[in-house]
């Protein structure tokens, strides 16, 4: 399942939804709001329709590249406090190697191309987190 949501998620519930008897590995990535020195909250904004399509494309790429059995991606938007969950990726596979590799691939592709932005909000003021990939001519 792919979801862009304002709601929090229960990591164990998501893992339970994904797990099947033939999966020996369930690799989970959980991204949370980090206190980067004076940050209290983060505002996450998405171009939702396109973000969902992009997540689907990335999931399909991961299935094509790695022998994995399941992918679940949940990305939160809205205002989140330090320590709150932002992103959950769960990859289920027969063995650990492909599950780790696919999970990392999915995360790096999300950072490259899914239209989501973060604004850090702290006592000192606000700042948009700069993207790592300019992609102006992508």
């Amino acid at each position: 399942m792919i979801s862009v949501t304002r709601d929090d998620f229960d990591v164990n519930a998501v893992i339970d939804r994904v797990r099947k008897p033939d999966m020996g590995a369930l690799v989970t990535f959980l991204g949370v709001v980090r206190d980067d020195g004076g940050i209290e909250e983060m505002e996450l904004e998405a171009y939702e329709e396109v973000a969902k399509k992009e997540f689907t494309t990335i999931r399909d790429e991961a299935f094509a590249k790695y022998p994995i059995a399941a992918v679940e991606i949940i990305h939160r938007i809205g205002r989140l406090r330090v320590g709150e969950n932002i992103l959950l990726i769960v990859v289920g596979a027969g063995h650990r190697k492909e599950a780790f590799d696919a999970c990392e691939y999915i995360l790096e592709r999300i950072k490259q191309s899914v239209p989501i932005w973060k604004k850090e909000i702290g006592k000192e003021g606000e700042r948009w987190v700069p993207g790592e990939f300019s992609g102006g001519d992508a």
Binding site: E45, H75, L87, K111, W128, V129
Partner: protein, 92 residues
């Protein structure tokens, strides 16, 4: 014809939110960007360099698909199209 312009992150703040622009039939992406720049000083400054070039960080989408800036001058828009403008993404 009408074209919907959506802007995100710092570009949304500069442009002031989504816009519905009435533009002549056959308007190109470049011409639409100029029209967005004409809506306010802030929008113009966020989108364009002083020499009128589109700023390097501006990413363009047309109906949910990325558009190369080299295509902007020739890409013709249609009534009801959606154009999106945003800076480099920073999710995850």
């Amino acid at each position: 014809m009408q074209v919907r312009v959506r802007a995100f992150a710092r570009l949304r703040e500069a442009i002031g939110g989504d816009l519905m622009l009435e533009v002549p039939t056959g308007t190109t992406m470049s011409r639409l960007l100029a029209a967005v720049g004409e809506t306010s000083e802030q929008a113009k400054e966020a989108l364009f360099e002083e020499n009128g070039e589109l700023r390097g960080y501006v990413i363009l989408m047309h109906n949910g698909r990325r558009v190369r800036r080299s295509e902007a001058a020739t890409l013709t828009l249609a009534d009801g199209d959606e154009v999106a403008l945003f800076p480099p993404v920073a999710g995850g």
